[in-house]
């Protein structure tokens, strides 16, 4: 490995650490999220050009900030329309240059800046795709190429998504501010949604041959922890963090040595990650202590906790699970939640009772393309000895899923029904 490669790897690590604080600080000074992001990227390019020969500066974060600010000043000087911003920036710059780099003091303001960054990148004026890309870029420090690889789309698509998102934020004049009062709840929901979308993209790939992409999950967990440190009074932040930790705890058991998926019932629980379970349960306890037991994420985490606490599949507390799903239906009604409740009801009261819950969902348009509905139906029908109907259900499920490995699994299930003596 050459010295240049070493420096590039180091720059990548520096960028991951510095990008959020750099962009957040710049956005506050410039009052312009898009310009801040652009200037930060410019500073990164300059670092990539100069550090391999000049060496990495002693305080790389300060170097990047100074470089980005110089770029911004140059830019604003050229832009006469921004005369007022220019004055403001000059003022901020003087202030910062004379501030005696006290880390403790610097640290206090940056928390709010980071929070502003999160809320802006996840602003509801942006599409979910745009919010995800922008968040990974400015908070995760991921490159356009890395985001593109994670979502199996072209780099150009992601680049365009980010450019458009920044333009939308500018056009809608979204201020770089913290949401207040009644605005806070929906804005926070938008942030949590983005983090969970990122997690889920990694947890169960919606397309392609990869069953999961752990790096995206790790990124989402990191975002969740960032939020928990910035908004420690918000129960749903802990609810989401708990949910993600508990789901991620099953990673080591979710695939077999051939890389094929292993369903919950068959997973070797000795392989579940105890550290994640411990952190997940602690986060859930925190969410509940903050009065958030009925939050949608906290309830989903409580469901995941039921599995985490059960020593084996047979020990699963299905009546508690059915009750939690009923509570979840009240706060976040969704046919998918009903589908899951049907599974729990089947475990407590038998396959026929579960099937009755499912039958109410058959005409639900939102589940028309959802492979898990026929897949669950198939499982219940097998238990009732209705093998032909079960096979048809599994075949339908296999046709609906976009995940190659899941399709293989469902096709196997269908074939097994056909082989069973009736």
């Amino acid at each position: 490995m050459s010295a240049t490669d070493d420096t590039h790897r180091r720059i990548e690590a520096v960028w991951r650490i510095e990008a959020p604080r750099l962009i957040a600080g710049l956005a506050r000074m410039l009052r312009d999220f898009g310009l801040a992001e652009e200037m930060a990227q410019d500073a990164l390019v300059t670092a990539l050009e100069t550090w391999p020969t000049s060496g990495v500066p002693e305080r790389p974060g300060a170097w990047l900030m100074t470089t980005a600010k110089r770029r911004a000043i140059d830019r604003l000087r050229r832009d006469t329309l921004a005369a007022r911003k220019h004055v403001q920036l000059g003022y901020e710059l003087t202030l910062l240059q004379h501030a005696d780099g006290d880390d403790v003091e610097r640290d206090d303001g940056i928390g709010d800046d980071l929070l502003r960054l999160v809320f802006t990148a996840c602003h509801p004026v942006l599409s979910a795709d745009a919010r995800v890309a922008l968040t990974l870029r400015v908070l995760g420090g991921l490159s356009t190429a890395e985001i593109a690889r994670a979502f199996l789309v072209s780099e150009a698509t992601i680049a365009q998504r980010i450019v458009r998102a920044k333009r939308t934020l500018a056009e809608k004049q979204v201020p770089f501010e913290l949401p207040r009062g009644a605005e806070l709840a929906p804005r926070l929901a938008s942030v949590l949604e983005v983090v969970y979308l990122i997690f889920n993209e990694g947890y169960a790939a919606t397309a392609g041959t990869d069953w999961m992409r752990p790096a995206l999950c790790a990124q989402a967990l990191r975002l969740g922890r960032i939020l928990a440190s910035l908004a420690p009074y918000e129960p749903e932040v802990y609810g989401l963090l708990a949910l993600m930790e508990l789901q991620a705890s099953r990673f080591p058991a979710r695939t077999n040595v051939h890389g094929e998926p292993v369903l919950l019932a068959a997973q070797d629980r000795a392989r579940w990650d105890a550290g994640r379970i411990r952190r997940g349960l602690a986060a859930l306890a925190r969410a509940e202590a903050l009065g958030g037991a009925e939050g949608p994420y906290a309830l989903q985490a409580a469901l995941a906790a039921c599995h985490a606490r059960a020593g084996c599949y047979a020990a699963t507390d299905w009546s508690r699970i059915a009750a939690l799903y009923a509570r979840l239906t009240r706060v976040a009604p969704s046919p998918v939640v009903e589908l899951n409740r049907a599974v729990a009801v089947a475990m407590v009261e038998g396959a026929q009772a579960g099937l009755s819950v499912l039958d109410a969902l058959v005409d639900e348009p939102r589940l028309a393309d959802y492979h898990l509905l026929p897949s669950v139906r198939g499982e219940l029908l097998i238990r009732l000895g209705r093998d032909d109907e079960a096979r048809a259900a599994f075949e339908q499920a296999a046709a609906l899923t976009a995940n190659a490995r899941e399709r293989a699994l469902l096709t196997q299930r269908a074939a097994a029904c056909a082989r069973r003596p009736s």
């Binding site: 790897r9 690590a13 650490i17 969740g224 440190s229 080591p252 105890a274």
Partner: protein, 145 residues
């Protein structure tokens, strides 16, 4: 991936039992800890009392021998650790570089072993390890049943 940053303060091996860090150093370290937290990489951290308050149980002979601290032969002693969840070894090292440590201090960066790192036979021999950690970690839920 998890990394441990192991803080090895020079001279800690022979530090007096009542050695305490001064408030200014702790304030600087708290700012650093907060940075780790706000970056979403901090999983845990702890500090250790000096070795002079500890003991060593050694197995050089046919039975264990207990020696009270400080330990004359030890040149280095652990002062504490951070447990981080980062994307790469480079990132762990980069975080270590940022620590407001004194001139006499060393941080050792070590990757945490995960079950998946072991070969099959070691994994088989370690069966139940996660379970043991879990039993300790998961008190029964009082609200269930």
């Amino acid at each position: 991936m998890r990394f441990m940053l192991l803080m090895i303060p020079r001279g800690y091996a022979n530090a007096a039992p009542d050695t305490m860090p001064d408030a200014a150093a702790v304030a600087r370290m708290m700012a650093y800890n907060r940075e780790l937290q706000q970056a979403g990489v901090l999983l845990g951290l702890d500090g250790l009392h000096p070795p002079s308050t500890g003991a060593r149980v050694s197995f050089d002979h046919d039975r264990p021998t207990v020696t009270d601290g400080p330990f004359a032969e030890a040149k280095e002693a652990l002062g504490g650790y951070w447990m981080l969840d980062v994307a790469s070894r480079d990132e762990a090292i980069e975080w270590a570089r940022r620590c407001p440590a004194g001139p006499d201090e060393v941080i050792e960066v070590r990757r945490v072993q995960e079950m998946a790192d072991f070969p099959e036979d070691v994994q088989a021999a370690a069966t139940g390890l996660e379970d043991m950690q879990k039993t300790a970690a998961t008190p029964p839920d009082p609200s269930s049943r």
